[in-house]
């Protein structure tokens, strides 16, 4: 639980995330866009592969609407995923490469955010993630 600062005038809300690999000690730190419009959390194929996962073997595929049409992305379960000071084990992510021009690695979507209470205070430039009231989630 904690607060991170952001620039309210930026085009997107940027946060950092850590993805843990199949083998202990393997971690990748990525720059993500906090995107409440995205159902899923999305990380790049190459990053997933370096962590020991094989998206090509995933039986689960999700449809994505992108700027260039509809695409299918494999869904995998990573050992753990952390962002904004919170960590979820056995977490589902979609493997998909955002355009390089986005300047980010992935999207932090509702699949992560819905486990917490999220506050975005543009007047202060603060993002706060804390455990859900009542402890459910």
């Amino acid at each position: 639980m904690g607060i991170v600062n952001f620039d309210p005038n930026d085009s997107v809300l940027l946060v950092d995330a850590e993805v843990e690999g199949l083998i202990g000690g393997e971690v990748r730190n990525l720059r993500m866009v906090l995107d409440t419009g995205s159902s899923s959390t999305i990380i790049p194929w190459d990053v997933v592969m370096t962590l020991g996962y094989d998206p090509a073997k995933s039986a689960s595929r999700k449809r994505l609407i992108t700027g260039s049409g509809i695409e299918f992305a494999p869904e995998i379960k990573v050992k753990a995923f952390s962002s904004l000071g919170e960590r979820i084990e056995n977490f589902d992510v979609l493997c998909h490469d955002l355009p390089e021009e986005s300047r980010v690695d992935g999207l932090l979507g509702l699949s992560f955010l819905r486990y917490f209470d999220l506050s975005i205070r543009f007047s202060r430039g603060e993002i706060e993630l804390r455990p859900r009231e009542g402890g459910s989630g």
């Binding site: 950092d16 609407i65 390089e100």
Partner: protein, 78 residues
């Protein structure tokens, strides 16, 4: 291998490039603070390719911001 430096120092040294750093230290909010820069490039795919050579704690960061005149709309799942 290079020396430990702050992420801010890496960004200042290589503006508008993708950075790859290892053995990084992050704070409690998962923000990388310091690390060893092992590659930098204008090409993100080159950084992802280089990432395959390293083990342990590895981070990627773009040393810059989105241009102000770019409108961003990301994707969502059906």
């Amino acid at each position: 291998m290079g020396k430990m430096e702050t992420i801010e120092e890496m960004i200042e040294a290589h503006p508008n490039e993708w950075l790859l750093f290892v053995d990084y230290e992050a704070d409690e909010m998962n923000r990388p603070k310091r690390g060893i820069l092992v590659a930098h490039s204008k090409d993100r795919s080159e950084i992802y390719k280089q990432m395959k050579k390293y083990k342990g704690k590895v981070g990627v960061r773009y040393a810059g911001k989105l241009p102000k005149d770019v409108e961003v709309m990301f994707l969502w799942e059906l």
